[in-house]
Amino acid sequence: MAKNKIRIEMPKQSAESRSKNFEEVALGYTEEMALLEAERCLECKDPVCIEGCPVNVQIPSFIKYIKEKKYAEAAAKIKETNSLPSVCGRVCPQEEQCEAKCILSKAGKPVAIGRLERFAGDFALDEKTRTCAVKFKAGKNSVAVVGSGPGGLTCAADLAIKGYDVTIYEALHEAGGVLVYGIPEFRLPKSIVKAEVEYLKSIGVKFQMNVVIGKTMSLHDLFDEGFKAVYLGLGAGLPKFMNLPGENLLSIYSANEYLTRTNLMKAYKFPEYDTPIKKGNKVAVIGGGNVAMDAVRSALRYGANQAMIIYRRSKEELPARKEEIENAEEEGVKFHFLVNPLEFIGDDDGFVKHIKLQKMELGEPDSSGRRKPVPIKGSEFLFDVDVVVVAIGQTANPVLLEVTPEIKTNKWGNIEIFNEYGQTSMKGVFAGGDIVTGEATVIQAMGAGKKSAEGIDLFIKSL
C-alpha cells in the first residue's frame, strides 16, 4: 500500500451546530485516521520537531508506537516528558512549535503532531486502557507546590516520579488553574483535566484545595510544616481594565470573570447551577487574543445575536491563534477592526448600553514590530451593546507576594528568578509559569515546572 501523503483533517462539529452548544468543537481522530496520519512521519535521523517542543516530547518515538498500534506505549512515551498530553494536544500552539519545525512543513503539510498527541493521550485517559501508573514510593522529603495550573501540575508530577512526597495547594475548589477556569469546555473538556489530575493522584500527588497561600497559610508556615522546598505556580491572575469612564457599569465583565462564571461555575447550565451570567444579545469583547476568542465564542453559545470582537489594530495583527480566529469566523463572530473604546454609557439602572468608539489607523511599527494604531480625530461614534467583556490581559496576582517581601518582584509584579531552575530570592522557593513570564502558554508553564522540579531535586540533595 502506498504511503499516505495527505495531512488528515480532524473532524469537527459543524459550525452551525457547535455555535449553539458548549460541547467540544474538535472531535479527535478515529483510530483509522491516527494510523493514516502517523504513517506520514518520516522518522528523521535528526528530528528537529523535538527542538520545537518546549518540553522535548520524543515525537518520532511516540508516533512510531502509534504506527505499531501500541497506543498505551505511545502515551507512556509522551508522559516521560509531558504529563498532560491530552491537554497539550488540544491547546498547544503546535503551528509555532513542533509542527513549525517538522521538515514536511516546508511543503506546508507538517505531520499533525498535536492531533496524534491528543489521540494517544486520550487513549490512556480511559480507565480500561490507562497505562498502569507506576507506583512511586514517596520518600521522606516533601515538597509543596502552590497553584494547580499546568506549571504546578507538571512540577508536582515530575517530583513525584523522582520520589518526593508532593502536596499541591490550590486557592480554588477545582484543580487545573486556567485549564479549568479560563479555557472553555468547547476547547478543552473539563473531564480531560479531571482525568489528568486523577493520573497525578494515582502517582501519589496530594491535593489541598481551597487553601490560599498568603491567607490561609503563609509561605513560612509551609516550611514550618516540614516542606523542604516550595514551587510557586501562581499564574497571571489579576485582570487588567482600561480605566475608562463607565467601566464599572453593570454587565461589563473582565474576561476572567466571564470565563470563570462560565467554565468553573457552569453558568451555562443556569438555573441547574446557581451561578448566573448576563447573556446579552449584543456582546462586545474588547481585545484580540486567545482569551478574547474564548469569550466571544462563549457569548455566541449563550445565544447572542451579535457576538463581536472590538480590536484596535487590523486583522493581520490579531494575536490569537489562526485556528481559533477561523473557528470564530465560521461560527459567526463579527470582527470590528481599527476601533478603540473611549467610554461606556449606561441606562438608569446602571446597565451598559453603548460604547463610545474611536476609529484608528495604522501608523509606524512600534517596539513589538506591529504597526501602531493611531486615533483618527473626530471619528467617535456610539455603538450599541448589552454585555461587554474586557479581554486586554492579566497581570500578576499579588495576594501571596504582598505578604512575602522576601520574594523579589519586578516592576510589573512578576517574580524575579535567578537561574534556569526558577530559583527566587528566597531560599528553597522556586517559581515558574505566568507568574514569572507574564501571560504565556500552557506548555511554557509546563516547561518551567519541569525545570524547577530538576532544580528542587538538586537543591534538596544539596541540603
Partner: protein
C-alpha cells in the same frame, strides 16, 4: 469538606453555623471573610467570619437566607458538611485605640460588627453598639453584643422590640447629645450604610463601611467585586472589604449588587417553590 459542628436557627431566616476549620480559625482576624461553595452546583458566596476559636479549630458564621445558594445552605444540619470553604480572605480591619466608637449593624450585618466591636473594646475604646432589625424575631447576638459594648442599643423597624425606628435615628440622637465620636463602623444593607455615611460626613466623623459586593473567587482574580472608592476602582475582596465610607460610591454599589436580581428570583423560586420574601 468542612463539618458543621453546631447549627442554630437564631432568628427568622438567619442561621448560625459553627464549623470545623482549624487553618482558617488559626489565621482569621476581625473584618475577614470566607468564600463558601456549599454544594456541587452552588455559587461561591462570601460570608464574614463572626467568631473563631483557634484552640478548638472552629469558626462561627451567620448566614441569612436571601437567595438560592443561601436557601440550600439553610437546609444543612449538624453533622453535615459544606463542600468547599476558603479563607480567611480580605484585609483585616485596622482597629486601634481612638477614643469613642460607634459600631452599627443592620440585620445579619450585626454578626459582622460583633467581632470588630469586641476588638474595639479590647483595644481600650469606649464602644457604643447599635443594631437594627426589621422586627423582634429578626434579632440576633443581643447578649453577646452587650458584653462587648459600653452602651448597646437595638432598634426595630416596626417597634416590636426595644426602640422603634432605624439605626440612623439612634445615631443622630447620640450625635445630638454632644458626645465626641472618633470613629464609626457600619455594616449592613448598602442603603443603610449610605445613609449612615451621609450623616457622619456631615459631622466629619471618620467612618468605615464593609462592602457587600457580589464576589466569585474572592482572591482578586475576576473583578466581579469592583467598587469605586475615591474615584478609583478597587476590588472589594482583596483591597477591602472595609473602606473609608465617605469615599465610597454607594449608588454604584447599590446598582451592582442588584445586577442579578432577575436571575436570583428565578433560581430561588425554583428551589424553594416560594416567592422571594423581599431582601433586608
Amino acid at each position: 469538606m468542612t463539618l458543621i459542628i453546631e447549627k442554630e436557627t437564631h432568628a427568622r431566616n438567619i442561621h448560625k453555623f459553627v464549623i470545623k476549620s482549624p487553618l482558617i480559625a488559626r489565621h482569621a482576624k476581625p473584618g475577614q471573610f470566607v468564600v463558601i461553595r456549599a454544594f456541587e452546583k452552588s455559587e461561591r458566596i462570601p460570608i464574614t467570619i463572626c467568631d473563631k476559636d483557634a484552640k478548638n479549630g472552629t469558626i462561627t458564621l451567620y448566614i441569612q437566607e436571601v437567595g438560592a445558594s443561601t436557601a440550600r445552605i439553610a437546609g444543612l444540619k449538624e453533622g453535615e458538611n459544606f463542600l468547599d470553604i476558603a479563607g480567611p480572605l480580605g484585609r483585616p480591619a485596622h482597629i486601634t485605640k481612638v477614643g469613642k466608637v460607634i459600631t452599627i449593624g443592620g440585620g445579619v450585618g450585626s454578626a459582622i460588627t460583633y467581632p470588630e466591636t469586641k476588638a474595639y473594646k479590647e483595644s481600650g475604646n469606649y464602644v457604643i453598639s447599635i443594631m437594627g432589625f426589621r422586627s423582634k424575631d429578626h434579632v440576633i447576638l443581643e447578649d453577646e453584643m452587650k458584653v462587648v459594648s459600653d452602651e448597646a442599643y437595638i432598634t426595630t423597624d416596626d417597634g416590636s422590640y426595644k426602640e422603634k425606628g432605624f439605626v440612623t435615628d439612634k445615631l443622630r440622637e447620640i450625635i445630638k447629645r454632644g458626645d465626641k465620636i472618633d470613629e464609626v463602623l457600619v455594616i449592613g444593607p448598602a442603603i443603610m450604610m449610605k445613609v449612615v455615611s451621609d450623616i457622619t460626613k456631615e459631622h466629619k466623623i471618620k467612618t468605615i463601611a464593609s462592602l457587600n459586593s457580589i464576589m466569585v473567587d474572592g482572591t482578586g482574580m475576576c473583578g466581579a467585586c469592583r467598587v469605586e472608592v475615591g474615584g478609583k476602582t478597587k476590588f472589594a475582596c482583596v483591597d477591602g472589604p472595609e473602606f473609608d465610607a465617605h469615599q465610597v460610591d454607594f449608588d454604584l454599589l447599590l446598582k451592582r449588587i442588584a445586577m442579578y436580581a432577575d436571575e436570583e428570583k428565578e433560581s430561588y423560586e425554583k428551589i424553594t417553590g416560594k416567592d422571594k420574601d423581599g431582601k433586608e
